[in-house]
């Protein structure tokens, strides 16, 4: 988590996003303990208050649970993990489609392009 944040977007959201991705990608596994607020603050060079807020947001969405006196853990609730996974997917697709639409691509073109890309994945990757 050493890459920098965008200064024009709320840091707590960017940090939450980052953690969500790490959880979905499996970098952080269900039941894993998150670094403490201060550790995260130091490693990502942000204000501990901001990290605190990120953890609160994540907790509210259910993806992490804080256990009194022990720290914050990635949830082991499959349903929540799946829904986050789904949510991130939808977000990415939405962004992608938005950009394509803005540039004037039609749905058919997009689908075709995606299919071609994915089928010849190895070459393009």
């Amino acid at each position: 988590m050493t890459d920098t944040f965008q200064s024009s977007q709320p840091i707590y959201l960017q940090l939450a996003d980052r953690l969500n991705r790490q959880i979905v990608s499996g970098e952080l596994k269900p039941g894993d303990k998150l670094p403490s607020v201060r550790e995260t603050a130091v490693s990502s060079k942000v204000n501990p208050n901001t990290v605190q807020r990120t953890y609160r947001e994540l907790e509210a969405s259910g993806i992490v649970e804080s256990r009194r006196g022990q720290g914050t853990f990635v949830t082991e609730n499959e349903d929540i993990l799946l829904s986050i996974r789904e949510k991130l997917k939808q977000e990415q697709i939405q962004n992608f489609i938005q950009v394509m639409h803005d540039m004037g691509y039609q749905n058919e073109e997009i689908k075709e392009g995606l299919q071609t890309y994915l089928e010849g994945g190895a070459r393009h990757d």
Partner: protein, 229 residues
């Protein structure tokens, strides 16, 4: 926690601050920005009780600030004059005797973290290392208010980085209020909760930084350039 009530500070030839009303809450790291001579140091010294307002009042927890507020405020001047005959360790020890809230273990921890040799005489320290010493002395006090006047100025990027990390590591963000003035916005941008802009002695704006990003999609630098043009 800290409150400026209609504060004006005049010197013989100029007005350093004019009609400033301001409230600062604990548990925040607050940046104070403004051009040279805008009144940043004046504001810091007023809170430290080292100067008195010409008009209005400065209060800490409802109590009028005097010089002896030093028991609740740790003030780091932009100057770095210490007693030159002392070594780093002796300076730390001396501070520990003057402030009952000084945490010597913490000082030792920060000193080790900052990689500052304990036995070097203060007069032989480089500017960067004097900057580090200031940070040690200021952060080792367990006080409600930390005032840091230009903690990063004139220091090379490596030192600035270690100071910023030191702040994140050693400030108790739940209990302490940190007010720091700086030109180096880039370095501290990610650690500020709030930012205060002053211009020609007047308070221009006081914002929560995350809200600023959320509401206006602006970073501090963009926000500042919209203020100072």
């Amino acid at each position: 926690m800290i409150e400026f009530k209609n504060v004006t500070k005049r010197y013989m030839t100029k007005t350093a601050l004019r009609d400033v009303d301001l409230k600062l809450d604990k548990g925040k790291i607050i940046g104070l920005v403004g051009l040279n001579g805008a009144g940043k140091s004046t504001m810091m010294k007023l809170i430290a009780g080292l100067i008195n307002p010409s008009k209005g009042s400065v209060e800490l927890d409802g109590e009028k600030v005097t010089r002896r507020i030093a028991s609740k405020v740790s003030y780091l001047s932009e100057l770095d004059e210490y007693y030159s005959f002392y070594s780093v360790q002796q300076t730390i020890d001396f501070f520990a005797t003057q402030f009952p809230d000084f945490n010597k273990e913490k000082a030792e921890e920060i000193r080790a973290y900052m990689n500052l040799d304990a036995n070097t005489k203060v007069k032989h320290l480089s500017k960067g290392n004097r900057g580090r010493l200031k940070i040690i002395l200021t952060l080792s006090r367990e006080v409600p208010v930390l005032l840091m006047d230009e903690p990063l100025s004139g220091l090379d990027p490596l030192v600035r980085d270690s100071i910023v990390k030191g702040l994140i590591t050693f400030v108790d963000t739940e209990r302490q209020l940190v007010l720091l003035s700086t030109h180096q916005i880039m370095e501290v941008e990610m650690i500020l909760d709030e930012v205060i802009a002053i211009k020609d002695g007047e308070l221009v704006d006081h914002r929560n930084v995350e809200e600023l990003r959320y509401d206006e999609q602006k970073g501090i630098l963009e926000w500042m350039s919209s203020i100072y043009e």
